[in-house]
Symmetry: C2
Subunit: 211 residues, 2 copies
Amino acid sequence: MLNYNDQKNWPNNFGNLQSPINLSTNDNQAFNDFLPINVDDFYQLNNEIDDQTTIRLTGMGNATIFNREFAFQQVHFHTPAEHLVDNQQAPFEIHLVHKDNIGQTVVVALLLKIGNANSAIQEIINNFKVGAENNVSIKLSEWVPNLAKGFHYAGSLTTPPLTENVEWVVITNPEITVSQNQVNWFMQQFGGNNRECQPLNERNIEYYANK
Amino acid sequence: MLNYNDQKNWPNNFGNLQSPINLSTNDNQAFNDFLPINVDDFYQLNNEIDDQTTIRLTGMGNATIFNREFAFQQVHFHTPAEHLVDNQQAPFEIHLVHKDNIGQTVVVALLLKIGNANSAIQEIINNFKVGAENNVSIKLSEWVPNLAKGFHYAGSLTTPPLTENVEWVVITNPEITVSQNQVNWFMQQFGGNNRECQPLNERNIEYYANK
């Protein structure tokens, strides 16, 4: 029985809502609709940081995600992708981190395929300085598609403290691609930096699959 | 540096978003507006459970809270209140727990003053069976006001596992009251069951104070 006279010894453990996960186009609740996400005409990146395991860039911009207003905070990169889709792993995953007015987090993840080099990613590579932080001016005009398809679920940060207060929007049809050379550059600089997939447990995953 | 080859030893600790907290009508971001919350004409309680430290009742009903759809899950009670307002403690706090389609939690807390006995609370008291669970049929037609004032912030469960994925709507102007006899009944049955206030840390609290 919970002892209200011994509150400092209450257990304080995580639940079962960790990220990333293996997403399925079959098992989930499917909507014949697009993900309700709209972002500014452009997101502006202002500061580029060597985060030791990835590049992180802070910036500004605003998004409406599931009828709520969010401010863009930072973007970073994982090679290979952290989220799987039907057990398939994309070569590159972009995490756009957003917060609302009371600090709730939505991460918009983009799963990229190999194709043309992306010019903004190339600017980020060209501006990178080992162990340093530097000012940049990079626009992300095309990263989030207007008609996004993909998944919506409740999970966690994928790096410590792995906190479970993160809402995920994982977009499977970004209009941009990344080149094999760009992926190779990240792999050479940081090595593999994808957290392993975590148990789905009892979670309900929404799949937005406009036909 | 984060070691992606030793993921099982990553630290997994809580952040700084625990509940309850001491809410302030002065320090927060104030909106001359009501809390955007609308609930069904009635919430229906179906099952009453002796939860050892409080009474918990599960039920049904739907709410629109900050432009999102939620399903009512359960209600339980704290004597005295867990959230403070300007350092003042109400005698009784009701927690209405809601979840959306992907399992995200919003708790709507009602801070009650002493006044007339509430008939639904009296039904709950009359139906209580020590150590047991029983079917009930209780409506909560008036518990959540149409024009709600109060606070909105990101916090945690107030009982273990104290998980930090909870959005709080704390309503300071419920139209209902509780009688001193009803409060006394809960105190006699369960003793004080309020978690101590937790550090606010860097949180932004929204205060909806329609003038």
